[in-house]
Subunit: 725 residues, 2 copies
């Protein structure tokens, strides 16, 4: 089945004919630079400069208008100003143009008038099926067909060879161009570069989808400031995982956390960055720390040979470099494994006695000075060790040339093994490496990445990615259950902060275990209820007019027997009446007193980008001092729920650290999934939800306190409440 988005974008990426609107005879104008760029890039289609009077520009014949071009136009590049865009686009529509690049700015980024115009343009483009990059962008490049659809002259000053197969999509024009150029300088020429600009008609996600379906693309990379269509991105990420096409995105704005006013703890902790982290992890999108991750990852990625695990061996001729890279590996979560005795013995057979066969394997300076064959020898043993996943060389003998038998044996060993082999030379390529061997290494599936490009970090991301791909194939797709939303209209009034009793009732309807609670309107009733619940109990006033129960001295904890309950009832009612004589009093709540256990926080909020987002963390100081919480976007799968806990530093405690028993994780997972269902079903009604704490026991869990704010409810000060209610 043809994908409509992909098919309609093809003329943008692979046009046969390109018209340049606003072509200029002046070599300093965009309208000239653009034509020159297409020529210098050796664009493999036809170029039609549109100019009212000129005969030729840069050697190409000109045409006075779109209607005068000799062929149907696939792509029009707009080198005209803001005020001519509307008429020009209408002209394109009239002539059946299939796609357009619009550089001009002044639209949605520049105020109301611009926004208005952009809307009109978008409508026009959609009506006539014109796919548009921009406006307010630096354009689009396809290095395979020489389509340099940008006026930026510098883009052609960098090397135009190097590994292809990497698509790059950027929400920042300047950052995009710089990354494109830096990557090319480091030997990675992107096959596509798209500056998305205002995403008037085509979005970041649309281009991701194009590249997922594009046979020339192996790696989809990008610079993201904010996803416009996270639901679409989620679906695409899943498709990309299935196809083993990694999506690696740099996302900025890490430091903008949580300045929004929020009623809940969850809301205040959920800076957009943490939610993005959760979303990326959830859907197997790799997060690049910086542009170097994209370059190094592109170099190291090979869909045919994904790393088999974290176990890593380092081979070096310098003890110092070995230790340093080992530090880095462990810092990024790779495991500098202990070698088996069998493997050590096998290595020792070939190496001189002074070489160290512990990991890192130190071949000593002899290897780099006089005995390059030492680089080969350990490989004979390592490729046969099933526990070894990755092998890193800190340098490679510069004496090895194509016809060296040792190099040939080395290449054969690597080619036939499932190990990921990586060479990370010091960044002094000219002097210190093995130009003769580099291309042979790369051809044989060995990555060569100078250590200042952070190859170890890229390797660790690749290892995680590979794990994710395996997981994706291992677990069955969970169908999102179609549920009939539970009716909450009798409890929840939009625009309201729910009372504790109401919040508790909402949780209960979703099957989340809450403490037993009754409302007593007499001492006798309170005693009966306490007997049903079992002692000890907690009692507190139930009145919509007394939100601050502690201030009213209308709470009593740890009531051990009937006498305690009787006294408490009278005291609470008296105190409440004294506190607020005209308060409506529903009665006194009698509530189960919870036993101590491991306290957690489970929360959710309705994120402006992602919709319902679920948070989990350990309670108390874990959340308040260490911010040890993790987020995922609802609806959660079972695996998401498990992984939310596994991300926590405090997970050890759930598993039973400090000699204590493990808590009931299944019950916790169940609550997370129910909160996910609740938030998904009620996303139009509920803005924020905190269960803080939820207490986990060896068997079972119980919510101790909860808070729910409906949408449009004004944030209020958080209510600190006591266990038991």
């Amino acid at each position: 089945m043809l994908n409509q988005n992909v098919e309609s974008l093809r003329p943008l990426f692979k046009p046969q004919t390109v018209a340049v609107l606003g072509a200029s005879t002046s070599p300093y104008k965009i309208g000239y630079l653009q034509i020159k760029a297409l020529l210098d890039g050796k664009f493999d289609g036809e170029i039609f400069p549109i100019h009212p009077t000129a005969d030729e520009i840069a050697g190409l014949p000109c045409y006075p208008s779109l209607s005068a071009t000799p062929k149907q136009v696939d792509l029009v590049i707009f080198c005209v100003g803001y005020d001519q865009i509307k008429d020009s686009l209408a002209d394109c529509a009239k002539h059946g143009v299939k796609s357009a690049i619009i550089f001009a700015s002044g639209f949605s980024e520049a105020g109301e008038e611009g926004q208005q115009l952009q809307q009109e343009l978008a409508q026009l483009a959609k009506q006539y099926g014109i796919r548009v990059v921009g406006p307010n962008c630096v354009g689009l490049v396809n290095t395979s067909n020489g389509l340099i659809g940008t006026f930026t002259p510098s883009i052609l000053t960098v090397p135009q060879n190097g590994k292809k197969g990497v698509g790059y999509i950027s929400q920042s024009g300047a950052f995009g161009i710089l990354t494109y150029m830096a990557a090319a300088k480091h030997g990675v020429l992107f096959n596509y570069f798209v500056s998305t600009g205002n995403e008037m008609e085509s979005s970041f996600e649309d281009f991701v989808e194009y590249m997922i379906h594009d046979d020339e693309t192996n790696v989809i990379s990008g610079y993201l400031e904010g996803a416009k269509y996270p639901d679409q991105l989620k679906v695409l990420a899943k498709q990309a995982l299935k196809k083993k096409k990694p999506i690696i995105l740099m996302k900025t704005g890490r430091s903008d956390a949580g300045s929004r006013a929020a009623a809940s703890h969850t809301g205040s902790l959920a800076g957009s960055d943490k939610v993005y982290d959760g979303f990326f992890r959830q859907h197997g999108i790799i997060r690049a720390e910086d542009f170097d991750d994209i370059v190094a990852f592109s170099k190291i990625f090979n869909p045919e040979k994904l790393p088999t695990g974290k176990n890593t061996v380092i081979i070096t001729s310098s003890g110092g470099r070995g230790i340093n890279e080992a530090d880095r590996c462990e810092g990024y979560g790779l495991n500098i494994m202990e070698l088996s005795e069998q493997t050590k013995t096998a290595i020792r057979e070939y190496l001189p006695s002074y070489a160290s066969v512990t990991n890192p394997i130190d071949l000593t300076a002899a290897a780099s000075v006089a005995n390059p064959e030492y680089y080969l020898y350990p490989m004979r043993a390592l490729v046969n060790d099933p526990d070894v996943d990755n092998i890193i060389f800190t340098e490679f003998p510069y004496m090895w040339h194509a016809d060296t038998p040792e190099l040939q044996e080395f290449l054969t060993l690597c080619r036939n093994s499932n190990k990921t082999v990586l060479v990370c030379p010091f960044p002094l390529d000219e002097q210190m490496t093995y130009p003769a061997a580099t291309s042979l290494l790369i051809e044989n599936g060995i990555s060569v990445i100078p250590c200042d490009l952070n190859p170890i970090r890229a390797l660790s991301k690749l290892v995680d990615y590979s794990e994710r791909v395996r997981l994706e194939n291992a677990i069955a797709d969970e169908q999102e259950a179609v549920t009939t939303p539970i009716d909450l209209s009798d409890i929840v009034t939009p625009g309201q902060l729910l009372s504790e009793a109401q919040a508790s009732e909402v949780l209960q309807r979703y099957g989340i275990p809450t403490p037993q609670r009754f409302i007593a309107t007499s001492v006798e009733q309170a005693i009966d209820q306490a007997r049903v619940i079992g002692f000890p109990v907690v009692m507190k006033i139930d009145s919509p007019d007394i939100p601050h129960k502690t201030e009213a001295d209308a709470i009593r904890l740890n009531l051990q027997n009937e006498a305690d309950v009787a006294i408490a009832y009278d005291t609470i009612v008296t105190n409440a009446k004294n506190y607020k004589p005209d308060a409506t009093i529903n009665g006194v709540a009698v509530i189960e007193m919870l036993q101590p256990g491991v306290e957690l926080i489970i929360g959710a909020h309705n994120d402006p980008t992602f919709g319902p987002v679920i948070m989990a963390g350990l309670g108390g100081i874990f959340v308040e001092v260490f911010k040890d919480v993790a987020f995922k976007v609802a609806p959660l799968t079972r695996h998401d729920a498990i992984d939310l806990f596994e991300q926590l530093k405090g997970n050890a405690i759930l598993n039973g650290a400090r000699g204590k028993a493990a808590v009931d994780k299944e019950a916790l997972i169940d609550v997370l999934l129910k909160v996910s269902t609740l938030m998904t079903e009620q996303k139009d009604l509920i803005q924020e939800l905190d269960i803080n704490p939820i207490i986990a026991y060896e068997k079972g869990v119980k919510t101790a306190d909860s808070m729910i704010a409906t949408k449009q409810a004004a944030p209020t000060t958080s209510t600190t409440q006591l266990i038991g209610g």
Copy 2:
């Protein structure tokens, strides 16, 4: 007063005459390459090749022996093998040679015989006052006088110009050479490079001292695997701080933590790396994460203009770059400050309305394309804002040349201000930056460091360093008090793990508050003692033969009254006797029952490198799950003790987080200082000490449990004990 170490090292760094032993006529031998390196380096003294028969080598006349040289020889470079070293050194001694470089390996790193020979050589060198670099090293370089005292030919292939004043000392030859070359490639030519090798006669610390006293050195950098003389390094670090000569060291081996068997919690947490971290922080030594920190720090460091604080402003023409660098700043602890209304108003006066005057200040693409003057305008306001400490430009207008009036005004503003100004262009120097302006910027005290060299990390390290320099000048030198060690011989037997009671007694002698405790030998005595202490109390058996009191069921907690005490006494004695009928029973300990408070761990251990090391952390999960502990080397100053707590993530809790009162920090500091005194005085006796937990209250602290292992005491399994004991 002349410094003997410095004076005697001078002929090594600044020889007038150099002899090359083992000179060779073969261009592939070290004995030839070394002479060629001196010639190519344009060594400004005389070179005497020593060769038994040759007349000349590389155009220089040869001499058959040291005795035949026409002048006294300052430095001899040994290009001879292992077996000739001893005779040659003896020959040097005979001829009054002042210094030597020995490349050969096979000494202390290669087994017993080599160790033996090295010791003899060291003795000889010391006796005749010959300063020696090596053996097992790659040599020494002084770029100021062209002394290329290394056979490594590649060292001259990198740029031989660039900022000088950076000394570099390396305990790894290969890493050292690579760093030297990478730095030169990035425009920092070290003035000195020393590969210390086996440090037979001259140590890493000796070279640090030389550079502290050397007028040509502004920054002392290095690669350290392990300090041989930490006491000397500590004294030198202080001198360097006073002179504002930063010492920046890369220290590897981060991941080698805590594999040693250890009796104490502290011992098992104190991987050497964490102790180095503490030592460096304590003494103002900057820790480089990688070689790039050394290069970037060297570029940014200016002793005349240290950063005034953390408040940082970013100026950019690309929103994306601005956000990205802001993320980095915050990640490294710099503060992306909010600009004052006054400053914003002043900036708005000059900039167009679409530019963003929030921080990062986004000048928009207009600045980089057509309006370079925008880069100047905000500076007019920022240099006058006393809250601004650092100003970072993500790029700089490439249109500005020396005669641009805007550039001239820019330079004047920077020169006359106390702000640290940093330009961090994307690493595409050739295409994207301002070659015409760069040297002018640098001359005017503005650093230009491409962003792939981690300039932001270097800036944050510089900010910390500046803070440390200010502190060093602000606090009076604390004299290390000369104390008479307290006699512990009646309690402590070497080779022993102390009983809880003994450990408690040791702490008490040093004035550390321990719970009240008595030994009762009758019920009546126990009741009397409990009355003195005050209820509730804890009771437990006191017997050298029953270390596992819980197993013996010989502990009772929370005894509320005399009746409880009476029953407990009898039960404990009965249970103990049943558990071990032949046990010697001293009696039953009656101990104050401590109230809950904030639990901390304070510990110490005798580090093989640093001697007594003190650790502090919050107790329980803080230490067990988050490893939230910090180390410093004893003896501690008061500032060290304060800083130990400030380093903790959990410090917020000590200061009264979660609505609770702050704990008595003064009392905690007092305990730390007392533990420091204890460990310093008893360092020959005590190996490890844990106070875990120590309980801190609003007023006062009290140790709840303690463990002391003497030196040579075999590590035993850790004893988990209860509060009150």
